[in-house]
C-alpha cells in the first residue's frame, strides 16, 4: 500500500488537529492530510474513498479548500452500496453548490436513485436534490419528484414535498403541477408529511396567485380543522413538547392561515374561532407555548380586521412585554413594531414600557426598542420621548450611542415643533454624544441656526456654555466655533437675551479663549482647526481689542505641518497685517443659508429631510443669479495655476475671497473647498491696489464696492461677499458655487461651430457685441471685433474699453475706432481684439471687461464678465 494513501484514520486525524496549539500547526496537519487524500484520489484508491471524504468534510468545516474532493463525491454516489452513497450525498451537499458545473454530472445518478427500489436511497437523492438543485436539474427531475409526492412511504412524501419547494423556487413555472398534489398532502395524518405539505403550500402561494386562490377556496376549512385537531389532541409522546403537541406544526399551520387570510375577508372569517381558541387556550408558561402565541398574534395582525381578536393580540403582546424573560420581551418588541402599521394607538399605550426597554442592558432588546420608539414618535409626544432618549444618552453604552444619536437627531429633525426646541435638543445631543453626530446633521443645525436670526445670541451663548463643560465632542466644538465666529459680538454683549436665559458675562478675551482652546486641542481634526482659524479671523474684526492676540494665535499656525492650516494662517495673517481696510468687509457675517436648498441637497443622500421646515420654499436661483455662479466656477478652474497675470486679478481676487469667506459655508454643504491659490498669489493679488497694471486698474475697494448694476454677474458676487442686506437671491448663487458648476455654462451649447456673434455685455446704457473670426491655420488665435452701442439718450465721451484675461490667454487690443459714442444707437464704436488661447481645445475663453466713459461730464464705469464665448475658441 502506498505510504501516502494509507493515511491516518479519521479519528486520528481529528485527534491530531485537536492537539494543535497554534493555527500554524493546524494548517500543517491539514496540509499533510490533504496531500495524502489527493494522492489517494490520483491512484483511484477504492478502499479509503469513504474515509477520505469524511476527512474532507471535517477539513471543509474547519474552513480549508476541498474542491479536489468533489469528483470523489460523484464516484461514491455512483457506487451501488448504501453507505457509500450516504457519505457521497453528504459530501455533495457540503462540498458542492448549485453553481458548480460538476453538479450537472450528478443529474443522471440522481435520476436513477430517485427511481431506486430501496426507499432509503430514494430519500437520500430527494434530500440532496432539495438542498442543492439548480434550475436545470429542477426542470429535468420535477416529474420524478411529483410522482414521489404520492409514494407509499410517508418519509419519502415529506422529503418530496420539501424538494418541491426548491423546485418551484428555482422554476416558478412548474408551480401549477404541484398545486393538486400539495393540496392532498394537507389531508394527511403523518406530522412530517403535514408540516412539509403546509410549507409547500405556503411557498406555492408565494410564487403563484393561482395556487393562493385555490388553497384559499378549497383548503382553508380543512386547515382550520387540522389546527383544531392538533390543538385539542390528547397527549402524544412522540410530538409532545411541554404539554403541547408538535408546536412546530402549530406554527406552520398558523403561518399558512396567515397567507390565506391576508386580504380575504371570508377566509379570515372562517379562521377567527380557531385563532381565538389558540390565543386564549395556549399555555404561556413555556417557550413552546409562547412560540405559538407569538405566531398566532402575527396571524391575527395580518389577516382582515376583527376588532375583538386584535385586542386579544395586543393584550398578549402587553403580557409578553412585561415578561421577565428577555426572549419574550424581544419578540414582543418585534411584533409591536409590525403591529404599528395596523394598531398604532394600541401600541402607544405601551410607550412607557417600551421606553424602558431602550435602556435595557441587552443590545438586541435595546435595538428593537429603539426602532419601535422611533416609530412611536409623533407631533404630540415628541418632547417627552426626546427628553427620555437624551437623558438616556448620558448613561448609555458607547457602542449604542451611535444608533441612539442617529435616531434622536432624526426624530428631532422630523418633529421639532419650534426652532428653539430643535436647537436646544441638538445642543444637548452634541454635548453628550457629539462624536457620534454625522456631518450632515450638524451641517443642518448650522443652517437652522443661521436662519433663526432671533436666536443667534441665545444659541451662541448656549454653545459657549456647553463648550465650557464638554470639550471632547468634536462636532460640538465645530458648531460652537462657527457660531462664536459669526455671532461673537452677541456673545459678549448679551444681545437678544431671552427671558429663559441666565445672564452670562463673557469678555471678548473669553470668546477668543474658547476658540483658541479648540485650535490647540490635540484631538481637534483639520476641519475643526480650519473652522477655528476662520472664526478667529472673523473675531479679529468683531473684537478690535483682541486683534493683536488673534494675530498671534494665527501666526502660531504658520508653521503647521498641515498645508491647509499653514496656508490659511499665512493668508489670514496677511489680511490682518496689510489689509485693514478690507478686513471688515471680508469677514462680514455669513448670509443666511438657504434651508430649502440645503435640505434638497441632503435629501439626495438622506431620506429624512433636514431642518425645521419653516414652510417658505425659497426660489431657486433666478435669472440673475445663475450666470453669476458659472463664471466663478470658470475662474476657479482657470486661474488656479500659480502666479496669475495681473490682468486676471479681479478673478483671482474673487477666488480668494471665496476661499476665505466661503469655507465655513462650504463645510456645511459637505464639500470642503480649500483656497487653491498659493499664498504668494494672494499677496500679489491683495497688493494690486497699490501698483495696478494699466489694464485692470480696479483697486480692491473698487471691486468690493463696485457698480450697483445687478446685471453684471460680478456685481452680484461683490454684493455677496460684502453683503449687508441679507437677500435670499444672494445666497442661492453661493450654494450653487459650492456645487462646482461645470467650467462652461450651458449658454455655450447654443453656439455652433460657425461662431455667431454674441452680445458679450449689455446693461441699461450700453451694449457690446462680439464678432469672431479665425485666421486660417492658426486655431489658437481668435480675432474679435467688438461693437459698442449706446442705449441711452446721452452721448458718451472719452470712451475707453479695457479687457483682462486669465494667464492662459494672450490679449492684444487694437485702438478703438473712436472715443465718442453717439446717443440712442445712432452709431457705434468698433475695436478689434486678438486673443490667443494657449489651452485651445481644453479651456474656453473668458474675459473681464471694464468700460469707462463720460456722460454729461460725469465719470461712469461699467464692469462685467464675458463668459458666453463660443465654446471652442
Amino acid at each position: 500500500m502506498n505510504p501516502f494513501s494509507s493515511g491516518t484514520r479519521l479519528r486520528d486525524m481529528i485527534r491530531a488537529i485537536r492537539a494543535c496549539k497554534t493555527a500554524a500547526e493546524e494548517r500543517a496537519v491539514v496540509r499533510k492530510e490533504c496531500a495524502a487524500i489527493r494522492a489517494a484520489i490520483n491512484e483511484n484508491d477504492q478502499d479509503y474513498r469513504h474515509r477520505n471524504l469524511a476527512k474532507l468534510m471535517f477539513i471543509h468545516m474547519l474552513g480549508y479548500p476541498t474542491h479536489f474532493g468533489q469528483m470523489e463525491c460523484l464516484k461514491l454516489i455512483a457506487s451501488p452500496g448504501f453507505p457509500e452513497k450516504r457519505i457521497g450525498y453528504l459530501g455533495l451537499m457540503l462540498l458542492l453548490d448549485e453553481r458548480q458545473e460538476v453538479l450537472m454530472l450528478v443529474t443522471n445518478s440522481l435520476k436513477q436513485d430517485l427511481n431506486h427500489s430501496n426507499q432509503y436511497i430514494v430519500g437520500l437523492a430527494l434530500c440532496a436534490l432539495g438542498n442543492i438543485c439548480s434550475a436545470e436539474m429542477a426542470r429535468d427531475l420535477a416529474p420524478e419528484v411529483e410522482r414521489l409526492l404520492q409514494f407509499r412511504d410517508p418519509n419519502i412524501r415529506k422529503k418530496a414535498a420539501l424538494c418541491s419547494i426548491r423546485i418551484i423556487k428555482k422554476v416558478p413555472d412548474l408551480a401549477e403541477n404541484f398545486i393538486n398534489p400539495a393540496a392532498s398532502l394537507l389531508k394527511e395524518k403523518h406530522h412530517g408529511v403535514l408540516i412539509t405539505g403546509v410549507q409547500l403550500c405556503t411557498d406555492l402561494c408565494k410564487v403563484s396567485s393561482e395556487a393562493l386562490e385555490y388553497f384559499r377556496k378549497k383548503c382553508t376549512d380543512g386547515l382550520v380543522k387540522t389546527l383544531r385537531d392538533i390543538a385539542n389532541s390528547p397527549y402524544a409522546p412522540e410530538y409532545d413538547i411541554a404539554g403541547i403537541t408538535d408546536p412546530f406544526l402549530h406554527i406552520r399551520l398558523l403561518r399558512l392561515l396567515r397567507v390565506l387570510g391576508q386580504g380575504d375577508a371570508d377566509a379570515s372569517d372562517s379562521m377567527n374561532d380557531i385563532l381565538a381558541q389558540v390565543a386564549t387556550k395556549t399555555e404561556s408558561n413555556k417557550n413552546a407555548g409562547n412560540a405559538i402565541l407569538y405566531e398566532c398574534v402575527e396571524t391575527i395582525m395580518s389577516i382582515e380586521d376583527n376588532g375583538g381578536l386584535r385586542v386579544l393580540a395586543i393584550n398578549i403582546l402587553g403580557r409578553f412585554l412585561s415578561n421577565r424573560d428577555n426572549n419574550i420581551r424581544y419578540v414582543a418588541l418585534n411584533m409591536l413594531t409590525k403591529a404599528m402599521t395596523v394598531e398604532a394607538q394600541a401600541v402607544q399605550r405601551h410607550r412607557a414600557t417600551i421606553l424602558e426597554c431602550v435602556k435595557d442592558s441587552d443590545a438586541s432588546i435595546r435595538k428593537r426598542a429603539l426602532e419601535l420608539v422611533y416609530l412611536l414618535v409623533n407631533e404630540t409626544n415628541v418632547k417627552p420621548l426626546t427628553k427620555e432618549l437624551i437623558d438616556y444618552l448620558e448613561v448609555s453604552d458607547q457602542d449604542f450611542k451611535g444608533d441612539l444619536t442617529a435616531k434622536i437627531c432624526s426624530i428631532v429633525e422630523r418633529f421639532s415643533p419650534e426652532k428653539i426646541w430643535y436647537i436646544d435638543q441638538m445642543l444637548k445631543v452634541l454635548s453628550e454624544a457629539g462624536n457620534f453626530v454625522k456631518d450632515d446633521v450638524w451641517h443642518a443645525l448650522i443652517v437652522v441656526i443661521s436662519n433663526a436670526s432671533d436666536l443667534h445670541g441665545y444659541t451662541v451663548r448656549a454653545l459657549y456654555r456647553a463648550l465650557q463643560t464638554s470639550t471632547e465632542q468634536e462636532t460640538l466644538v465645530r458648531v460652537a466655533v462657527w457660531c462664536i465666529g459669526e455671532y461673537g459680538d452677541m456673545l459678549v454683549n448679551n444681545v437678544g437675551m431671552l427671558d429663559i436665559e441666565d445672564p452670562i458675562t463673557v469678555t471678548e478675551s473669553d470668546a477668543v479663549d474658547a476658540v483658541e482652546v479648540a485650535i490647540k486641542r490635540h484631538t481637534s481634526d483639520l476641519t475643526t482647526k480650519s473652522m477655528a482659524l476662520i472664526a478667529l479671523l472673523k473675531l479679529s474684526s468683531r473684537f478690535p481689542s483682541c486683534s493683536e492676540r488673534i494675530r498671534e494665535i494665527i501666526v502660531q499656525n504658520k508653521g503647521s505641518l498641515v498645508l491647509e492650516l499653514q496656508q490659511r494662517s499665512i493668508e489670514f495673517n496677511s489680511i490682518l497685517q496689510k489689509h485693514q481696510n478690507i478686513r471688515s468687509a471680508l469677514v462680514e457675517r455669513m448670509p443666511v443659508l438657504d434651508e430649502a436648498t440645503f435640505s434638497g441637497r441632503r435629501a439626495g443622500s438622506l431620506p429624512a429631510a433636514a431642518s425645521t421646515s419653516t414652510g417658505t420654499p425659497h426660489k431657486l436661483p433666478n435669472g440673475i443669479a445663475k450666470p453669476a455662479a458659472a463664471p466663478i466656477a470658470d475662474l476657479l478652474d482657470l486661474s488656479s495655476d500659480d502666479a496669475p497675470a495681473p490682468s486676471s486679478s479681479g478673478a483671482d481676487f474673487l477666488q480668494d475671497l471665496l476661499g476665505v469667506d466661503l469655507s465655513p459655508a462650504s463645510a456645511p454643504a459637505g464639500t470642503s473647498q480649500p483656497p487653491k491659490a498659493g499664498t504668494d498669489v494672494l499677496l500679489d493679488l491683495l497688493s494690486i491696489g497699490t501698483s495696478p497694471p494699466a489694464q485692470s486698474s480696479s483697486s480692491m475697494s473698487d471691486i468690493l464696492s463696485s457698480s450697483q448694476d445687478n446685471k453684471a454677474p460680478l456685481a452680484n458676487l461683490n454684493g455677496l461677499t460684502s453683503l449687508s442686506s441679507l437677500s435670499p437671491t444672494a445666497t442661492s448663487p453661493m450654494m450653487d458655487l459650492l456645487d462646482g458648476f461645470g467650467p462652461s455654462p450651458q449658454k455655450h451649447e447654443e453656439n455652433g461651430p460657425t461662431y455667431p456673434s454674441v452680445v458679450a455685455y449689455e446693461s441699461s446704457s450700453l451694449r457690446m457685441t462680439f464678432n469672431f473670426s479665425k485666421q486660417p491655420g492658426n486655431p489658437q488665435t481668435t480675432l474679435i471685433q467688438a461693437t459698442f452701442t449706446n442705449l441711452s439718450p446721452n452721448a458718451y465721451n472719452d470712451f475707453l474699453f479695457q479687457a483682462a484675461v486669465p494667464k492662459f490667454l494672450q490679449l492684444h487690443l487694437d485702438p478703438a475706432s473712436s472715443n465718442t459714442l453717439p446717443a440712442s444707437g445712432n452709431g457705434s464704436i468698433t475695436q478689434n481684439l486678438k486673443v490667443t488661447n494657449s489651452q485651445h481645445g481644453k479651456k474656453s475663453l473668458v474675459m473681464r471687461i471694464r468700460i469707462a466713459y463720460k456722460m454729461n461730464n460725469k465719470d461712469v464705469l461699467e464692469e462685467g464678465q464675458v463668459n458666453n464665448f463660443p465654446r471652442d475658441l
Partner: protein, 143 residues
C-alpha cells in the same frame, strides 16, 4: 427558506459543525463564523437569545460548552427556532446519550445525517425523534 445555516461552536469559538442552506464561499463562511461567534459568545446568560446580524437573525442557545447557532430570516419565529435547537439537542442526546462536543467531532457525519433528517433546504422536515433516528439506527445495524 427560514433557516440559513446551523452552526455548532465550542466556547473557544471553534466550529464543530457547520451546515449552510445558502451558498457562501469559504472566505465568506470563515468571516461570517468569526463575526457571529464574537457577537454571540460575548453575551451573558441573562441576555436574550437573539442577535441581529447583517440582514438576518441568529438564534443561539448554549448547552454546556457547546453553542448552537442558527441563522434565520427576519420573519422566522425566533421562539420556535429556540425550541428547534432544543429538539436537535434532545435528538442527539437520544442517539449519543448525553451528547458532548467530542461526540459531534468524532461522528461529524452522523450529526449531519441527523440534521439531514430534520432540516432540508432550510425547512423543518420532521419533529419526531423516533422518525429522525430510524434511518440512522438502521444504517448502524447494517454496518
Amino acid at each position: 427558506m427560514g433557516i440559513r445555516f446551523i452552526l455548532m461552536v465550542n466556547k473557544q469559538g471553534q466550529t464543530r459543525l457547520a451546515q449552510y442552506y445558502e451558498w457562501l464561499t469559504l472566505e465568506e463562511r470563515r468571516a461570517l463564523e468569526g463575526e457571529i461567534v464574537r457577537k454571540c459568545l460575548a453575551r451573558n446568560e441573562q441576555q436574550c437569545s437573539f442577535v441581529e446580524h447583517r440582514n438576518y437573525k441568529i438564534v443561539y442557545r448554549r448547552y454546556a460548552s457547546l453553542f448552537f447557532l442558527v441563522g434565520v430570516d427576519n420573519d422566522e419565529n425566533e421562539l420556535a427556532i429556540l425550541e428547534f435547537i432544543h429538539l436537535l439537542v434532545e435528538t442527539m442526546d437520544r442517539h449519543f446519550g448525553n451528547v458532548c462536543e467530542l461526540d459531534i467531532m468524532f461522528h461529524l457525519e452522523k450529526a449531519h445525517f441527523m440534521l439531514e433528517e430534520m432540516v432540508m433546504n432550510g425547512s423543518i422536515i420532521e419533529t419526531s425523534k423516533a422518525n429522525i433516528l430510524t434511518p440512522i439506527q438502521l444504517m448502524d445495524k447494517a454496518s
